[in-house]
Symmetry: C2
Subunit: 156 residues, 2 copies
């Protein structure tokens, strides 16, 4: 995975949160993961990428961050992590992946995206195959911290 | 989602487990999920489907079932849910999705598959959008129970 492949996802994440939820995230740490295993926050939206490049993008949030983002998105307080919150995190993941797809398309890389699955569970981990490079980026924001993880490889 | 769309995944799951791990699963309950939210077992392999149909397939296992399947697959005891177990569940998910893809192709439905993400966490749930139908199938086997969940829709 080329390092520059992460940039469309960073850009799309920042734009999507600004537009949808009036949250302005700041990029913090970028890390290349070699063992393919990651401890995630409480709620992780996952979308598969398939075509000229193949892989996945994960947006992962502590439940407090997710609730604040979704409250701002829907314009009212959310009492707990209910289905509206999980659906909104799925929709946000969909927007980020779809927006990154457009940027890749302009650069000559064509792929399609699947539908989002949103995992909800304290201390869940996500494992990927050892031969698929993964880049993790953490963000800070008014709504709290969150992270994205992108793993992809070009299809020969 | 047409009910017959589940059959290639059931067939591929049974074949993959027989071939890889000499485990012969028996299909138990088939259920259409309407709310999009599912409580999963401890370990869930997820692959996205994208193209003429779009969605995902999830194979979910209690950790005891996963360890027995992987022990049979690699031919030695596995002491715990280590990276080998998670990688093998990812590979199994990949084989099931790839094999189902071939069956769909022969029926005129073309899609590509992403790379597997394997979620590991007690009591994790997976949420999908309300407008995406999902079919859940449980299996029993010598290695213990497990389940598959397929959500997909045709792209207009």
């Amino acid at each position: 995975m080329k390092a520059e492949y992460i940039n469309p996802f960073i850009e799309s994440t920042i734009n999507a949160l600004k537009t949808m939820a009036m949250v302005s995230p700041k990029r913090e740490k970028l890390q290349v993961k070699k063992d393919g295993e990651s401890a995630m926050y409480d709620i992780s939206g996952i979308i598969g990428l398939a075509g000229g490049v193949v892989g996945s993008v994960v947006l992962s949030f502590p439940k407090e961050t997710a609730m604040k983002i979704v409250a701002s998105f829907i314009g009212e307080d959310v009492p707990d992590v209910n289905k509206d919150v999980l659906d909104a995190i799925g929709e946000l993941t969909n927007i980020v992946a779809g927006s990154a797809k457009k940027i890749f398309y302009e650069q000559g890389h064509h792929f399609k995206i699947s539908l989002p699955n949103v995992v909800y569970g304290k201390d869940h981990k996500i494992n990927r195959a050892r031969d698929v490079p993964c880049i993790s980026v953490t963000f800070s924001s008014d709504a709290g911290p969150f992270a994205i993880e992108v793993s992809l490889k070009e299809v020969q």
